[in-house]
Amino acid sequence: MLKRFWPWFWFLVGAVYFLVPLYATFDFSLRARRGELSFAAYANVLNDIRFVESFWFSLQTALATIAISALVIVPTAYWVQLRLPRLRPVIEFFTLLPFVVPAVVLVFSLARTYSRTPLTDSREGLWVLLIGSYVILSFPYMYRAVDTGLRSINIHDLTEAAQSLGAGWFTILARVIFPNVYVALLSGAFITFAIVMGEFTIAALLAQPAFGPYMNRLASSRVYEPSALAIISFALTWAAIAAIQWIGQGSQARVAGPR
């Protein structure tokens, strides 16, 4: 028993560090009405029109980001594996650059470089910059997910089979490759979703009406509602990651099957 003391000890330290803030936040979020525990803070948040609007805005932005990222990454990863395997380290390098260029530097560079162009002078232009930066942030996750997904299927055979049946490149991509990397794509999509929904820096510095800046502003006028938002936000992140793990188990079983 004594042999297992330290592992248990460190596990408990970790559990306390992780769980106490979550418990405290939840507890705090229930105290909006004096003298009783209630979900009033949650009701206030959900009834706030700015919550609905900013959430909807971020949702649209996340979906657009995922769609564009998938449209860029799937053909690229496919083409690199099929025809340009030498290029793989180069692509990998470029997809990992967002870790070298932090979000705040990225948005700073974009704002400076495209200042006094339609990209920064209009609402639509700023939205393009926002989605462009999010797509860049999604590349590391999307590329790795799709690249792994492609490696578990035999793209050379699939491509030749499709070509021998007379399919063009567009048909191959849309009807053979996309359906086969769908599951891998979903795991990249969910992590992108989690990142975009809670992102603050880029959205705030591009003055976009997104969910992150809304949460930030709420803190200056409200006491209990921010903790309700933190719980909602945590639940959202948890749901996205749980979806990835659930999908991941499914796809592992599928990968193991044909092999």
Partner: protein, 298 residues
């Protein structure tokens, strides 16, 4: 369905001009990366060596020596170092506990799943969570007060150590996620071989376990360092984003909305400094991971 003839017709062309057509396939990706990442970043780097009249100068770089900029860099570097070491140690020990430590397997899976969530739970909501926990009115603060311990004013969530506590919350899970597979990559035979030669647990860790894991441990801590150095939202929410005595990322962010330094070139140089430090971290991390891969390939 694309017409059959098109594919057949393009076949000989592909053969003759193989290089140009093949490269066209990756053009969309490179155009996208160029427009939204490479061109803006390179132009910022280049402009930090130009003055207002676009002549070559080192003045912007030298101006990084202004006291409040230096103190801001030092603050960020210290915060990153403290949270990388603190989060690295706690995360490393937790990763050890759930893998080699022999805790029940469901616990391992629960910790790994939770780490996946918690490493993505950063920024504004994380700041909210800690305000509700350790802020002036926070649940833990009030509970400690009720048993006679007054955190404030000795401690403040909005101070260096307060920020550190919050940052470590997203550092630990990242460490766990990267180190757990490394611990699991340690072969059982190594330990058995050592024990059959009479090694104690201490001997094993001192002469075999730690030396093998060291590059991976150090590398991941370097990654945590970069992770904290580039963080912006959490610090912004907690400190309110004033430009004095703060992390570098907030200083850079403040240059977008208003040119507070009255010198665009200096803002560019600030960003350049950040890229250099982050590039160094990621490079070091990659190198150390490559070192550890020699032993820990599963």
């Amino acid at each position: 369905m694309a017409p059959l003839t098109q594919t057949q017709a393009s076949q000989p062309v592909v053969r003759r001009r193989a290089i140009s057509w093949t490269w066209l396939g990756v053009a969309p990706f490179f155009l996208f990366v160029a427009a939204f990442l490479i061109w803006p970043t390179l132009s910022i780097i280049a402009q930090s060596f130009l003055d207002q009249e676009r002549r070559l100068t080192l003045r912007n770089i030298l101006e990084l020596g202004r006291p409040f900029i230096v103190s801001s860099y030092v603050y960020s570097l210290q915060l990153s170092a403290v949270t990388a070491i603190g989060g690295g140690l706690l995360g490393g020990l937790l990763a050890y506990a759930i893998t080699t430590g022999g805790l029940p397997r469901p616990l391992r899976n629960a910790v790994l799943s939770f780490s996946g969530v918690a490493s993505n739970f950063a920024g504004v909501p994380l700041a909210f969570a800690f305000i509700a926990t350790l802020g002036q009115l926070g649940v833990v603060t009030q509970w400690l007060r009720s048993v006679g311990i007054n955190l404030y004013p000795a401690f403040s969530l909005y101070s260096f150590w307060g920020l550190s506590v919050v940052y470590i919350y997203f550092q630990i899970p990242l460490m766990v996620l990267i180190m757990a597979p490394a611990f699991e990559g340690m072969r059982r035979e190594w330990r058995e071989a050592a024990e059959s030669l009479g090694a104690t647990s201490w001997h094993y860790w001192r002469f075999i376990g730690l030396p093998i894991l060291l590059p991976s441990l150090l590398g991941t801590m370097v990654l945590l360092f970069g992770n904290a150095f580039g963080a912006h939202a959490t610090a912004f929410q907690l400190t309110g984003g004033g430009s004095q005595g703060n992390v570098v990322t907030i200083l850079i962010g403040a240059q977008i909305s208003s040119d507070a330094l009255a010198n665009p070139g200096l803002g560019n140089a600030l960003a350049l400094g950040m890229i250099v430090i982050m590039g160094f971290c990621i490079g070091l991390y990659t190198w150390l991971q490559r070192l550890s891969a020699r032993w820990l390939r599963s």
